[in-house]
């Protein structure tokens, strides 16, 4: 039976440049390139190419280009090539379509419809190279009020806070969905930058305990790797209710990716599928969540903030309000653009709401209820650059979680095939031959470079606004204007239209 699926990409090889060095042959995890011994020439099997661009990058003579297969169907704005191909694929396999990374569909990117203020004439700009610019951020429950004794000493007991040098953290990526070298790169960079990284639901590998002070340990529905040492090693804990890429369903790590180290860290047998159930089976109400939050606080002696991570869905504001009242110190909201190692394509591309809307709605609701100070809000779900960060904070976030951009920094080329475990860049794989490709020395350095660059840009933007502290930006909707948005969108975001 012949497959109807045509190659998605074509590999173009410039024969004038190709020196038959076979670097592409050695580097492709999908066996696209091969040496034809009959004529000594390197050739390519387009059908297997996923456009990860490993070969393109490594080719010493830049002889390779990967293009979209120009083969077209008859022009059809409704039955696009993508729609047709997906039907064909399911007809062949009978399987749920799986994919990796975040929603690529052409929904509105609200970040790109927001513009920022700058100072002119009054409230002059601040030059961040000459004057102090404070990006330091504290995440955790803030007190209702402060009481001092007659000598000015603080009487109010402060709840534990995470202290960040910048309002950016590395979001949850489980060991298992990504390689240990990836986790090591994130942990080292977080430590050097004075921020935090999140373990995801894979537990904490023993070699990473030394970065504990900059680690947020996640407790997900599968409770993988959760034991007292794990909880106490970290600086904060996070209960994962959901994630933006697949709201409503749990995590799935295929058995092929559950190698010895992954199995040991997750405390499951080697080779078994690691399936996290959709709900936590001991959380069926907000009271149950409160119980778990306080169980974790008890287990760690109330020394660590507890965060709850939810996907941005309808009624996210009400949900967040409930979570704040349940005792969470931090609420992380993951928008529908959030990435994943593996998710059903239909759910990733159709479920959830944009983080821009969600943060604005949650921030507004918590302020209306007078409980905004009881939690810190962390926005996640495709923060692509420093401008997105500034806008997210202006909409109400205390800080942002980044994941996709961090992976792109260390080599991800967005081929979206993470679920196959054949990540050519050594990120979303457990194959020892591929894992080597991410050198944590290089990975950590590139992450530090990225965040450092973004910190400078944020300072420049803040300076341009005449603001010298990130606190003055938080929830400051007045710093934003909307362009090309409907009145309803403007209302939900709580901002004016440009010109107003």
């Amino acid at each position: 039976m012949i497959s109807y699926i045509l190659p998605e990409f074509l590999v173009l090889r410039d024969e004038n440049r190709c020196i038959q060095c076979e670097v592409c042959v050695r580097q492709c995890a999908n066996d696209v390139h091969y040496l034809d011994t009959k004529d000594g020439k390197v050739k390519s099997d387009d059908a297997k190419c996923v456009n990860c661009q490993r070969c393109v990058t490594f080719c010493p003579t830049h002889a390779l280009t990967i293009i979209q297969n120009p083969q077209e169907f008859k022009a059809n704005a409704n039955w696009t090539k993508k729609a047709i191909t997906e039907v064909q694929r399911q007809a062949e396999t009978g399987a749920v379509l799986l994919t990796g990374m975040g929603n690529p569909e052409a929904y509105t990117v609200y970040w790109d419809k927001l513009v920022l203020n700058a100072s002119q004439v009054t409230n002059p700009s601040i030059d961040p190279l000459r004057e102090p610019m404070e990006l330091k951020t504290y995440l955790g429950r803030k007190p209702d009020m402060l009481e001092f004794d007659k000598d000015g000493k603080l009487l109010t007991k402060l709840t534990p806070q995470l202290v960040l040098n910048a309002p950016i953290m590395f979001s949850a990526m489980s060991f298992g969905s990504v390689s240990l070298n990836t986790c090591e790169s994130l942990a080292r960079a977080a430590t050097e930058l004075g921020i935090y990284y999140n373990t995801g639901e894979g537990g904490l590998h023993s070699s990473l305990y030394r970065y504990g002070k900059n680690t947020i340990a996640q407790v997900a529905s599968g409770r993988f790797g959760v034991n007292p040492d794990y909880l106490n090693a970290a600086a904060a804990l996070e209960i994962k209710i959901g994630q933006g890429a697949k709201p409503g369903i749990g995590g799935h790590l295929p058995g092929e990716k559950v190698k010895a180290e992954v199995a040991a860290t997750r405390m499951i047998p080697e080779g078994s599928d690691a399936i996290s159930p959709a709900p936590h089976h001991d959380i069926y109400s907000i009271e149950d969540l409160r119980q778990l939050i306080y169980a974790l606080k008890e287990a760690t002696d109330y020394t660590k903030p507890v965060s709850v991570k939810i996907a941005a869905v309808n009624n996210v504001a009400a949900i967040a309000s409930g979570i704040a009242r349940a005792g969470a110190d931090i609420i992380a909201i993951d928008g529908f653009r959030g990435g994943t190692g593996a998710a059903p394509l239909r759910i990733r591309d159709n479920v959830g709401i944009p983080i821009e809307m969600a943060i604005a709605a949650v921030d507004t609701r918590l302020k209306e209820e007078g409980i905004r100070h009881q939690v810190s809000l962390v926005a996640a779900g495709s923060i692509r650059n420093s401008a997105d960060i500034v806008k997210a904070i202006a909409l109400g976030a205390d800080a942002v979680y980044i994941a996709t951009s961090a992976l792109i920094a260390i080599g991800c080329h967005m081929c979206q095939k993470c679920n196959t475990g054949k990540c050519n860049w050594g990120i979303a794989t457990q194959d020892p031959q591929l894992v080597k490709r991410l050198n944590p020395n290089i990975g950590a350095r590139r992450l530090v470079n990225l965040i450092t660059a973004w910190e400078h840009e944020i300072k420049e933007i803040l300076g341009g606004m005449g603001i010298n502290s990130i606190e003055s930006l938080r929830g400051n909707r007045e710093m934003l204007r909307g362009v090309g948005l409907t009145q309803k969108e403007l209302d939900i975001l709580g901002i004016k239209a440009a010109g107003e």
């Binding site: 004038n16 440049r17 020196i19 038959q20 060095c21 076979e22 670097v23 050695r26 580097q27 490594f58 010493p60 003579t61 194959d431 020892p432 031959q433 080597k436 490709r437 050198n439 020395n441 290089i442």
Partner: protein
């Protein structure tokens, strides 16, 4: 004296070190020209040993007490001013005694023209050996480990 050391944890087996060694020692120093047009292209001085998933580059260790220098019957193999072990191929007669002596197997036979040996010369004309500079995953380091 700085030497090149391989970190097998990061070697991805791409062999760009071998390719860049050839280019650095070619006539044209142009990768496309060297591979497509040069007749007597030099042999790479570095060799990548591989048994997946382990791989690493290995070249002459430029030993302080180099057995190849002591074994060479013509005096072709000697130490230069830097302390690197180099071969005067004018004197080399291709007896392969150094190949017998080198405990790292770092010396190759070059029988493309006259019979002489070929090995790493620690890139005398470059600030850093070409293999180290061009390793895409920093799996080769150039340090003094004394």
């Amino acid at each position: 004296m700085k030497r090149v050391y391989a970190l097998e944890e990061y070697c991805v087996g791409c062999r760009l070190c071998e390719i860049n060694c050839v280019v650095a020692h070619s006539q044209s120093k142009d990768i496309i020209w060297a591979f497509k047009n040069e007749e007597a292209r030099p042999l790479p001085g570095i060799l990548v040993e591989e048994m997946k998933p382990v791989s690493f580059g290995l070249q002459c260790r430029h030993c302080d007490d180099a057995p190849c220098v002591k074994s060479c019957i013509t005096g072709a193999m000697h130490k230069d001013e830097r302390g690197a072990v180099v071969c005067d191929t004018e004197k080399c007669v291709g007896c392969w005694t150094c190949i017998m002596a080198c405990p790292y197997g770092a010396i190759k036979r070059n029988e493309s023209n006259t019979k002489v040996i070929s090995k790493c010369d620690l890139c005398p004309d470059l600030a850093q050996p070409a293999c180290v500079t061009n390793c895409p995953n920093e799996a080769l380091i150039y340090v003094d480990r004394r």
